[in-house]
Symmetry: C2
Subunit: 230 residues, 2 copies
């Protein structure tokens, strides 16, 4: 799409491109590809919403869910009775996380684009079977959003933990695609008098709204303001 | 999860729930379900980013993409050579669109939640084969983001249209889930002195940034400010 044709020649194999495997090698717009943990982790940490795809009775299903990261793994949770949770345990999944950072207005419709950050991970989802590990990961999920919050809450009950399944996926077969900046028009199109530019988009966190049913005298912990997204 | 047990009793079948089919009937948290076009269309129109899931060589893949809507169908586009585009043509897909509207802090970790709007659509993806219809849909995509922009751009070339595939999916087997408002704690937990509330999250559009390579005297069309998301 850009006027840099040499960068559009696909690398001949996964090793040369830096991709961890053949199926994770970015082919389209591969100049936007990143395979390093720093880039991949930064995207995962910026956006808890993920999309978990699986095959169910031969058909594709994708479920929006929340993920959190611990080192080289992502985790997600749900009801032990949920279709998604039951269907993915031990099975092949593909998980994406993506953020839209802006609309990119080019001089031709063909070169319109968006600025974005995204990650795609392939692998087999694993159930966290050890109860202590499961509890520790749920605590990590809560405290990762609001530091220290777990210990301020009504303690978790055994039956609640039992009703909850936590899944995990190694961030091994993973790739990121990141686009920033202005459009890349064809060389000759820079002479066309259309306005080009970027309209930036971002997520903001507004001031917390207290539950009217809060007990009198219960103050908001200052850590609630640490919640970040995007 | 809430203290309203009767609303947790699943409806016995799709017809009773209002779902268009058995596989689109929301089971978990089904009190958040909506099956009417107005709700479904509003979610689709608020968020161009979607996730398209398909089965490729027996395995699930989900690809973040942009969708736009025309009446009772969604559309998306990509390279005629793209793996996703080639794999989904005529095949079963599942497409989700979702927005996160806030983090919901309950009095127990178990009842933490997020406010969100989401849509899930099932069906067979269809290629838009008629060249005029394909062009008209691409124009709709561009003009839907920035009114009248198509006609301001360097005219689209025949070879660009040829390199582009547009897919469509009827919004027939579709469901929405929408959550708003404060946490729903267990009745007895309202006596627990933890702060509860909502931290709202929203997408904002920042002022446009002109491409430094714009021709002198080329002004930004005021319609660029019409771009909305969220
Ligand atoms: C928010 C958003 C919107 C997008 N909108 C569009 C659109 O409208 N049209 C369009 O054609 N494309 C869009 N893309 C890019 C899209 O996700 C695919 O990268 C692209 O469609 C090529 O698909 P493919 O199956 O041919 O990928 P290939 O390049 O063949 O994929 C090979 C491998 O590359 C990696 N990979 C591919 N895509 C991504 C990704 N997005 N993030 C991380 N790794 C990836 C995976 O490991 C994958 O297995 C969008 C991406 C984002 C994040
Ligand atoms: C941003 C976001 C984050 C979420 N985070 C979590 C999480 O962390 N843990 C968790 O368990 N769930 C989460 N959910 C809800 C999740 O999407 C599923 O609804 C839930 O996991 C139940 O899955 P299931 O397969 O058991 O659904 P079922 O209720 O069995 O699904 C049956 C049918 O209901 C409809 N349906 C299901 N989910 C949705 C949906 N989200 N939108 C529209 N229609 C739907 C579909 O037609 C589906 O085929 C999140 C949803 C959103 C939008
Ligand atoms: C940051 C903390 C948490 C957040 C943001 C969160 C969010 C969510 C969301 C969005 C859902 C889906 C609801 C729906 O289907 O619409 C969900 C379901 C669920 N969560 Fe959590 N959760 C959190 C912590 C926990 C913890 C700590 C537990 C267990 C102790 C738990 C147990 C469950 C269970 C069992 C379900 C499934 C409910 C059902 O389908 O009936 N969650 N959660
Ligand atoms: C609002 C307008 C548009 C937006 C926001 C947009 C956005 C995008 C994005 C995000 C991609 C993926 C790039 C990547 O893989 O990283 C893409 C690919 C593509 N777009 Fe568009 N697009 C728009 C209009 C068009 C139009 C009008 C055409 C054709 C005339 C077109 C043709 C293509 C083609 C062929 C690809 C695939 C490129 C490749 O994989 O090599 N786009 N577009």
């Amino acid at each position: 799409m850009s006027d840099v044709p040499e960068s559009d020649a696909p690398e001949s194999d996964a090793r040369e491109s830096g991709a961890p495997s053949e199926r994770t090698r970015v082919k389209r717009y591969h100049r936007l590809a990143h395979y390093d943990s720093a880039t991949i982790h930064a995207v995962l940490d910026a956006m808890p919403v993920c999309n978990v795809a699986y095959v169910h009775e031969g058909r594709p299903i994708v479920t929006p869910t929340l993920q959190w990261r611990d080192g080289d793994r992502i985790y997600w949770h749900g009801s032990a009775a949920s279709r998604m949770i039951r269907a993915v345990a031990g099975q092949e999944v593909c998980v994406t996380v993506s953020l839209i950072d802006g609309l990119v207005l080019a001089r031709s419709a063909y070169n319109y684009n968006i600025n974005h950050r995204s990650v795609m991970i392939f692998g087999k989802a694993e159930v966290v079977t050890d109860p202590d590990q499961k509890k520790a990961q749920l605590q990590r999920f809560v405290d990762g959003l609001i530091p220290g919050q777990w210990d301020r809450l009504r303690p978790v009950k055994a039956q609640e933990l039992k009703a909850t399944t936590v899944l995990s996926l190694p961030i091994t077969e993973a790739s990121a695609k990141v686009r920033t900046g202005q459009p890349e028009d064809e060389a000759e199109d820079y002479a066309f008098p259309a306005w080009a530019g970027v309209v930036p988009v971002r997520l903001v966190v507004d001031p917390p709204v207290a539950d009217p049913r809060n007990l009198p005298g219960v103050e908001m912990p200052p850590e609630v303001r640490a919640f970040k997204i995007g």
